[in-house]
Assembly symmetry: C2
Homo-oligomer: 321 residues x 2
């Protein structure tokens, strides 16, 4: 949950004069996203999301994020569409923060997704990968293999608090991934954070993808591995091959994976499990007790990492090879 | 801000089958209220507020709060209206909490209210006091004079951290108020928390009152004194007599104050300033650092209390006697 900045109604009305957004009827801070402040606006036209970009977002990245949503939307993907200001730009300023006005997507995220939903997510992810083609801004993935060692070093000294022996295990994992990380796989724009809370459904129908604020250029199959980690494990830590099969079939119905991408899936999945383990570990060790933030258990991703480490063939993810 | 409980979309859909609420399109946790979890629902019909009552609210008080909103709404006051369930009751259960579905009021609260808005608030408060007549449930005010000493004793030992010498001043204030508190004034249902964030406007037009979760039976003029404290002081601590005049004229245009109520205003205002000072002091001393809650400065209300203490005549509030 996150609403870091309050907005005075006069400032908001003034801000809205730059848009063709109708008359403002109400605005509510909403508990969505963890990096920014978000408000749901009711107007005499359609509802809108107002996002104020807080300090954790690099202002220089905003043209990438907003331009990407515009690009994907123009290519038919259902995702939030930034409204242009009267001068054509997508970014304004409100309460001292960069701010954008974005279309509101109806739909709900699934707390208990089933295999049929995983299929839809796989399909939508591939659609996004295809639609991202031709987007000409670039953004490096700061949270990919080159960034992990630095992230680990911030937590390493205290990692034993979470589980004894973690130092040795993670150092050896980093060494392995540095040696084994694939090169030459198809790359493009990836979502990089397509967790259940970023996918909306109306009934069993996927209604849209949101939160492109980790999007970047990286290996497309790495994005697939993030989704396998995020959607296809059960609460008890077990990999659900039915969900994995559905996810991968959905993906390949739009964009078939190459043999090299399939062969790389176990390594990529180790990498993405490590990536979420490392950020969660850092947050776990640095978020003060009593802060009204749900700390996510880093060990969940350590268990996933260990699962991928013992995978002997990509077939174990549910691929028919 | 407050969203303490997440809701699974399946549970919510099941909950909604008990209401004539249309098809659910989306729900967002919103930053509104500090005692409960609130969600803004979009449906195929009108938008709705879903409130989950958290531990700080006494379950036995809920029939009073919900019944009051229904009563006031039926009498023409613009306030949230609880939707009845198919069995006619107003209260259900969701995610293990008592839960109610309530109409959504469009409008925005004013960060910088002017005198003209204070006039509207005074009028709406009097309309509420009149409309409350005939509501037959009762709820004592736990935060009135009988409760203050107990509240003070929870903070007294550490009060010096906030300002040296506070112990003597507050003890003597409590003694004064115990002796001087009026009896025999008109009583009824009061809002007891009508701060700017609980009053919505569309343009300069008051569109509704919200958050009746401190409502109780008490002296009507005490509610007026709460509004004088909440609306008629400037950020620099000065009482704004123009706002006070407007507030009191607005109120009396609907319900004239008796001579005894007018004479009691300075004492009642000392009391209500002390009440908000005491709860803020307690929160100030007990809320952990780093919690994502805005701590409200108790000294703001100490300064207001000191202002009222030196008032020599109710005329100083802007009344023409």
């Amino acid at each position: 949950m996150a609403v870091y900045t309050d907005i005075a109604e006069d400032d908001l009305k003034w801000f809205l004069t730059e848009y063709d957004a109708g008359t403002l009827l109400s605005y509510k801070g909403i508990a969505e996203g963890v990096e920014n402040s978000n408000f749901l606006l009711h107007t005499s036209k359609d509802p809108l999301i107002l996002t104020l970009y807080e300090k954790r977002v690099e202002k220089s990245d905003l043209p990438f994020f907003l331009g990407l949503m515009q690009h994907l939307s123009a290519r038919g993907l259902s995702c939030p569409l930034p409204l242009p200001r009267r001068d054509g730009s997508l970014l304004g300023s409100l309460s001292g923060r960069p701010a954008a006005l974005i279309s509101f997507l109806e739909g709900m995220w699934l707390r208990k997704p089933e295999a049929k939903h995983c299929r839809e997510v796989g399909r939508a992810l591939a659609e996004m990968h295809v639609a991202g083609d031709g987007f000409d801004l670039k953004r490096a993935n700061a949270l990919s293999i080159d960034g992990w060692r630095g992230l680990w070093e911030k937590s390493e000294a205290r990692a034993g608090e979470v589980e004894p022996g973690l130092q040795t295990e993670i150092r050896s994992e980093l060494d392995f991934l540095s040696a084994a990380w694939p090169s030459g796989l198809p790359a493009g724009v990836i979502h990089a954070d397509l967790f259940p809370d970023n996918v909306f459904f109306l009934g069993d129908q996927l209604s849209g993808l949101i939160d492109f604020y980790f999007a970047c250029n990286d290996l497309l199959a790495y994005d697939v591995s993030i989704c396998l980690n995020a959607w296809c494990f059960e609460k008890d830590g077990a990999y659900n091959i039915t969900k994995g099969t559905a996810m991968l079939e959905g993906y390949q119905s739009v964009r078939p994976l190459s043999d090299a991408e399939i062969a790389a899936l176990p390594v990529l999945s180790r990498g993405s499990a490590l990536r979420f383990f490392l950020t969660r570990l850092y947050d776990w060790l640095t978020t003060p007790e009593g802060a009204m933030v749900t700390k996510k258990d880093p060990l969940e991703y350590l268990r996933k990492l260990r699962f991928h480490r013992q995978v002997k063939s990509p077939a174990e993810y549910g691929l028919s090879l």
